[in-house]
């Protein structure tokens, strides 16, 4: 069955079609979750919660072609809420796994990403991890394209400052 048909059936309340739709996107959604939550357990849980939320609101998905973008957006919202919750109630027995390895220059980048405000983090994620076009980012973030570009630029600069500041380097 084509994705379009899966979406249409899902909207009509067909749970099996919806499961198939989620199967199509589960890998990508899991990676998105992992980029934010950095834990297999938390990311699997995220996929479950996002499945429930998406199934509840599937009727709001107006354009079947945007199913993946729509699901990604729900996932990012969920992850950012989760991170906020963690900050509120620190869980000591949960040591996040990392994408970076120890001694890795990416460690610093991970930290820098965590320090970004939510909207900036979303832009970076959509552009570099989801590899979305500026035009599409502008659409889901409801911002003019120029604003997306300039914010991305500024955020990259913030990342650089964070990394350089922390690492005490100024070689670039």
């Amino acid at each position: 069955m084509e994705e379009k048909e899966l979406v249409e059936r899902s909207i009509r309340g067909d749970a099996e079609a919806f499961v198939s739709l989620m199967e199509l996107h589960k890998t990508s959604l899991y990676r998105t979750a992992f980029a934010f939550l950095k834990s297999e357990h938390a990311s699997v849980e995220a996929v479950q919660e996002v499945t429930a939320r998406a199934f509840r609101n599937i009727r709001r998905l107006k354009e079947p072609a945007y199913a993946k973008t729509w699901l990604t957006r729900i996932m990012i919202n969920y992850c950012q809420d989760e991170l906020k919750k963690r900050r509120r109630e620190p869980v000591t027995d949960l040591i996040p796994e990392r994408i970076a390895q120890s001694g890795d220059e990416l460690l610093m980048l991970e930290e820098a990403l965590l320090a970004l405000p939510d909207p900036s983090r979303r832009l970076i994620h959509l552009k570099y991890f989801e590899e979305m076009k500026i035009k599409d980012i502008a659409e889901i973030e409801e911002l003019p394209e120029g604003t997306v570009k300039s914010r991305l630029h500024n955020t990259l600069r913030t990342l650089r400052e964070f990394i350089n500041g922390k690492g005490g380097r100024s070689d670039d």
Binding site: F18, M22, K26, R31, E40, Q48, F55, R88, F129
Partner: protein
């Protein structure tokens, strides 16, 4: 150069692409997510939806507790009246409604409108000066899957009849072809006696939104309500309040109460507020749908089951057990940071969801509580926040209640007021109605 950061980000993306994918765990999670939501839907179906009136001053609540017993034969007889089947459920919770049916104070109608896929038929109306109960049927050739009723509105001569709350059930989504439903419409101002022409406009959404218009004329006269001005101040549990008036309508009795501003506690619910006749017959609170409103002058109006059709010689108003909370006990949250700043000290309340437009909470109440317990919210400037809707439901020993705001246009932190809370004061108040 920031190229370096871009390079690092791409490097990270490559790493991310290489993480192992727990395929099976994800498939299980997807199944579990769908199951979780399907169960959520079943729960939602039992809940009643309310629409808040435009005027921020009026507040309502839902309750779904007590039920009085009626004989199966009576239920059967009512069900056989055209369009009155949904009323049976109502009667079980309200003896005033039973009296309405006994006294044939309702009007049968047959008005329909259809948009090709759905037909809506008005079956019957119970109207008085305080409000209207409208029974209607939704028919669809294909069966209803997940219909959603949007704000039903009543018009007179093209003008919206202002309301202070509408409550209705979701049409059932069990795939039935025909579905009977009720709308309770509460008028903001008493209906003028000469108004007989109405138009009901409503939207039904199932995939697309269909708009319906149903004009109707009432032929039976609308009963004149009876008003008792009392202005009696009483004390209970050390708190003072004034019973200002009691108005008796066929659909309900309205008791208007003003709390003394110097009280140390906020009185929330008058659980056993009732009218009693000489012979000991009791008319208690309405326990289903909208059961109270908050007036602009700061007073509150509570609804009792109506004794309109049974007017004994001597009638007393009584109450002995009230829900009340110290004014210092508050729920304060910041919806921007997601922080819960203050909750009542008994630890029974938990905030479960928080966003600029939604506050959802969970309260340990026991299974019999049955009140939508959040009332409204004010922002840090003391401005009342515009509500879009509110709902409540019960799971085991916990009650849940949420408020949704029209927008995030207010300043944090916000204080949320309670409409009900499982904390009590007791005493005995008796006032005679002349």
């Amino acid at each position: 150069m920031i190229d370096r950061e871009e390079e690092r980000l791409r490097h990270m993306k490559d790493r991310l692409d290489k993480i192992p994918i727990p395929e099976e765990a994800l498939s299980c999670a997807i199944r579990a997510g769908v199951r979780q939501e399907s169960q959520g839907r079943t729960l939602k179906k039992k809940a009643i939806k309310m629409i808040w009136p435009a005027a921020a001053a009026a507040v309502l609540l839902l309750a779904f507790v007590l039920s009085i017993r009626i004989s199966p034969a009576f239920a059967q007889a009512v069900s056989s009246l055209p369009g009155m089947a949904p009323v049976v459920e109502l009667i079980q919770n309200d003896k005033g409604m039973k009296a309405i049916i006994d006294n044939e104070y309702y009007e049968e109608l047959h008005v329909t409108d259809n948009d090709g896929s759905f037909t809506i038929t008005l079956n019957g109306i119970i109207a008085d000066q305080s409000g209207m109960v409208i029974s209607f049927t939704v028919d669809s050739a294909a069966g209803l899957k997940d219909p959603f009723l949007e704000t039903p509105e009543l018009y007179h001569n093209g003008q919206l009849i202002e309301h202070r709350g509408i409550s209705f059930n979701y049409p059932s989504d069990d795939g039935k072809i025909s579905n009977e439903q009720l709308i309770h419409y509460n008028f903001a101002e008493p209906l003028a006696p000469d108004v007989t022409d109405f138009e009901l406009r409503l939207k039904l959404r199932e995939g697309d939104t269909s708009v319906f218009s149903l004009p109707f004329t009432l032929k039976k006269p609308i009963a004149q309500s009876k008003s008792h001005q009392l202005n009696q101040t009483v004390t209970i549990g050390g708190q003072k309040l004034t019973i200002r008036s009691i108005d008796i309508h066929p659909l309900r009795v309205e008791v208007n109460v003003m709390e003394d501003p110097d009280n140390t506690m906020d009185i929330l619910q008058y659980e056993d507020m009732r009218l009693e006749s000489e012979s000991g017959e009791v008319w208690s609170s309405i326990s289903n749908g909208i059961t109270a409103t908050w007036e602009e002058d700061g007073s509150e109006t509570y609804f009792l089951q109506s004794n309109f059709f049974t007017q004994p010689d001597r009638l007393v108003f009584r109450m002995s057990r009230l829900q009340a909370l110290q004014k210092t006990e508050q729920l304060v949250v910041n919806t921007l940071t997601g922080k819960v700043l203050e909750t009542p000290s008994d630890g029974k309340l938990e905030v479960t969801k928080l966003s600029p437009t939604l506050v959802e909470t969970k309260l340990k109440t026991g299974a019999e509580f049955g009140y939508g317990y959040l009332r409204d919210a004010v922002d840090s400037n003391g401005k009342t926040i515009d509500l879009a809707s509110g709902g409540s439901w019960q799971i085991d020993d916990y009650s849940y209640s949420d408020l949704t705001f029209k927008n995030g246009d207010y300043s944090n932190p916000i204080t949320i007021h309670f409409f009900a809370y499982p904390n009590y004061i007791e005493g005995d108040v008796t006032v005679r109605l002349e």
